[in-house]
Amino acid sequence: MLKQIEGSQAVADAVALCRPNVISAYPITPQTHIVEDLATIVAEGRLDTEFLNVESEFAAASVVLGASAAGARTYTATTSQGLLLMTEVLYCIAGMRLPIVLTCANRAISAPLSIWNDHQDSMSIRDSGWIQIHAENNQEAADLHFQAYKIAEKTFLPVMVCMDGFILTHAFEPVDIPDQDKVDDFLPAFRPRATVDPMYPRGLGLFADPRFYMEMRYIIHRAMEKSENTIKEVHEEFNKAFGRKSGGLLKTYKLENADVVIVAMGSVVGTIKDTIDLLEEKGKSVGLLQICSFRPFPRKQVYQLLKDKENIVVVEKALSLGRGGILGSDVRWSFPRTEQTDRKISNFVAGLGGRDITTDDLAAMVERVEKEHVEFDFLGLNRDLILERDL
């Protein structure tokens, strides 16, 4: 049923349709609406679940860890500082192969304090063993949650659905919320592999000495790599069941004959598409490669799609301080070493802490990379504000 609703509401509705057994969260802007809406759904008796308001994100993550280990389907949501506070637990969840689903309403990280959007939060735990999939719009945000559970419970890897804070969470758009029956058909009941159960006593979270630790990390790494297939399969199944192309590893827009290819992820993709259309009217051929699955990073597919492209520019909302772009590096790494030097792969960081990324900004960026190869730069930086001696 198509509903004109807020992104957070769409996500809450979608999560509820997945029938999690345990939900635990701690309020943080801009995630709050999601859990508030879920709380309402539970309170109204539309969902039979244990909803737990806890004392911190750290506890929320720990509660879902425990609940998942006990065999429950679980859910939590957070952002920014909250995600960082969870970090220790998130690594643990992945290491223990607990198929937990988390929504990250992407937001910048302190200091300075900023409640607005960028991708620094989820980026900072990209190595934790969580699958990270990014939504472009609210429909996709909702749809990714159905898929997230399915992916998680097939791969026994936790899944983080990333959606841009405010830009999506607080935006009202028409979203199709499917019927429960359809969701139930698509998403079978959770069948845990190893739980804490007195009938079958198991040890979870054992410590591994140097004889075993590497293998355990290797296994997770390979499982992450192989989850690409699962993400693709689930995406196709979803497409078949719901008739929508939400999710998957990658998406493209006017890529085929493009002279310049923009690589990006998240909601900025909408603005990029607009820019591409505008530039097309001006006779420029610009295309888009949208990264849906940031982790696992679909390196081979990226290479396949970009190997014939001469001019590539990566725009991203996160930054490895002292090093540069993160997505940019991943894209560069997608090419075999010998081929990297043959082409221009430019990299821009944009929209940090909620700074708008406009079509003008993007058009200027395209113009610039047509002229020169930009190893790394900031887009839309107001240099007038910067005191030289602080640099």
Binding site: F156, R193, L204, G205, L206
Partner: protein, 550 residues
């Protein structure tokens, strides 16, 4: 190698435990030790053993079986033994020693009540014959243990009834004759032949015994009453202690008159006094020294005092006064103590001019006993007692000896103990292995125990007849004890040096390396896992667990 499970979630039912035993540098071991009670008991009775059976199972039959492995006369010892075992009992450092003597009596009385019989250890009888001279506790004990071992045993007794001093010395209010007769009979029932009215050396020569028997045991006691020489002691109404008691114990009536004076400080003196008191006389005891030096049992002195027997300490007879050949009084002198003599006791000396007369109708000189060596030639010690080697063998090979005749005046239990050891030695002698000596396990002292685990508990105390009742006749002072009380008392035993299943080791081992073998109450150490921390040893209340270096 096992493949790593998903998320390292391991099925705990499949775990093969890691063996921590290799960390150990010291190892716990169970060491059964001798408790000091057993060590101090002249018979080395398994006191801990019989008390535990009483406490845990309330089983008087088994308790009797345990006791009679060493002591065939528990009902007797339970009445007359001065119980040095209690002196040694570790519990004295916690509150009061166990009332072992009472428990022993209760077990003995139970056997009498239930008419229990001894069993032989050797089913197949042995052909060797052994002669026992004297049927006092030493002779009876030796005969009993030899008979249990299957030997053919014959006792020669000079008197017309068996028992020695048990019958002729100790008065019936302390040792009823039914008790004596029962325990002697139970011994004889093992197939021991008893021939009374035969004085060896007089009625049959020693040579005959040594020829006819594989071995001989002499338990002749010290049956002759020796008196100190006091001028006038040939008067009528002067007896030796032994003589007097024998008369009384044979059922003879003696006219004591109004005042009876007893000279001496030993058990015989006390018994004479108590008997005289019961016969209605004014009784006093004359002794050179003080109570502390009296060789008599402290308990018996207490009872005598209760019975209003007068004690004249520091008093020594100098002359017995007679009229018409009949005693009328005794002239005594006051003594004072001088520095200790060779025996360690202060030496008394007369105070000049302190003489005074004590009126007396009868005077009993209970001042000593001696062995009757008539017709028996042996090496002697101090010219008085039979001399033996470490194996209780006398100067005649194959002739062993024990009891008062060897030890000097001692106790019933000492005589039984020697009878037991002589029996063991005779067995070895016959087997030709006399030189082998058994080493006893070490004695566990109270400092070795972890007394924290024991509760203080009231000690059992026996209640005697009120004095006026006692003095009415020769009734036994203490009637039989309530079995429940004895069971309760037995539970006070700390079980020094032997596990009593407290489960401390089981519960306190941090490595679960102590296991209980189900149904047996026995514990084992699992050395695959024991780290040798020593907790079990430290927390074992009774010091049954020791740590030894690997």
């Amino acid at each position: 190698m096992e493949k790593l499970p998903l998320g390292l979630a391991l099925d705990l039912r499949k775990v093969v435990p890691y063996k921590t035993g290799s960390w150990r540098t010291q190892m716990p071991v169970h060491v059964m030790q001798t408790p000091p009670c057993t060590f101090s008991c002249p018979i080395n009775n398994d006191i801990r053993g019989f008390l535990r059976i009483l406490a845990d199972k309330e089983n008087f039959v088994d308790a009797w079986n345990i006791l009679t492995r060493t002591n065939p006369l528990p009902a007797i010892c339970g009445r007359v033994c001065p119980h040095p075992c209690e002196e040694g009992c570790n519990r004295r450092d916690l509150d009061y020693p166990l009332a072992i003597n009472c428990a022993e009596r209760a077990v003995g009385d139970y056997a009498i009540d239930k008419k229990l019989d001894h069993r032989k250890e050797h089913i197949t009888p042995r052909q060797e014959k052994i002669a026992i001279v004297g049927s006092g506790p030493a002779g009876l004990s030796c005969a009993f243990h030899l008979a249990k071992r299957g030997f053919k045993v014959k006792i020669f007794e000079a008197e017309h009834q068996p028992g020695g001093m048990l019958r002729w010395g100790i008065p019936t209010f302390r040792l009823p004759r039914e008790v004596l007769d029962y325990e002697i009979n139970a011994i004889l029932k093992l197939g021991i032949e008893l021939e009374c009215n035969v004085r060896v050396g007089v009625n049959i020569p020693m040579d005959q015994l040594t020829n006819e028997y594989k071995a001989v045991f002499l338990g002749m006691g010290a049956s002759i009453g020796t008196r100190i020489e006091v001028p006038g002691d040939d008067a009528q109404g002067v007896y030796s202690g032994v003589e007097f008691l024998k008369e009384i114990n044979s059922g003879k009536q003696i006219d004591l008159g109004k005042d009876v004076v007893i000279v001496g400080g030993g058990n015989t003196a006390l018994d004479c006094a108590r008997v005289a008191k019961r016969l209605g006389a004014n009784t006093s005891i004359v002794y050179r020294r003080t109570r502390v030096e009296m060789p008599a049992l402290s308990e018996e002195i207490d009872e005598a005092l209760e019975e209003r027997i007068m004690f004249r300490y520091h008093t020594n007879p100098t002359q017995i006064l007679a009229e018409d050949g009949k005693v009328v009084g005794m002239l005594c002198v006051q003594m004072e103590m001088k520095e200790a003599d060779a025996s360690g006791r202060a030496r008394p000396a007369a105070i000049a001019g302190s003489e005074k007369v004590i009126p007396a109708d009868t005077i009993i000189l209970a001042t000593g006993q001696a062995v009757d060596y008539e017709g028996i030639e042996l090496n002697k010690r101090d010219e008085k007692w039979i001399s033996t080697d470490n194996y209780l063998q006398t100067s005649i090979p194959g002739v062993f000896a024990g009891g008062d005749a060897v030890l000097g005046l001692e106790t019933v239990s000492a005589a039984i103990g020697q009878g037991l050891r002589a029996a063991q030695n005779i067995e070895d002698y016959i087997a030709g292995t006399l030189q082998n000596t058994l080493s006893r396990p070490p004695v566990v002292l109270s400092k070795d125990l972890n007394t924290i685990y024991y509760e203080t508990q009231r000690r059992f105390s026996k209640q005697g007849l009120p004095v006026h009742e006692r003095l009415k006749g020769m009734k036994e002072i203490y009637s039989n004890f309530e079995p429940e009380e004895i069971v309760k008392e037995s539970d006070r035993c700390l079980s020094c040096g032997l596990c009593f299943q407290c489960n401390n080791c089981l519960m306190y081992c941090p490595d679960n390396a102590v296991n209980i073998i189900s149904g047996t109450g026995k514990y084992t150490f699992d050395l695959d896992f024991c780290k040798g921390c020593g907790i079990c040893s430290k927390e074992c209340p009774c010091h049954y667990i020791h740590m030894t270096l690997e």
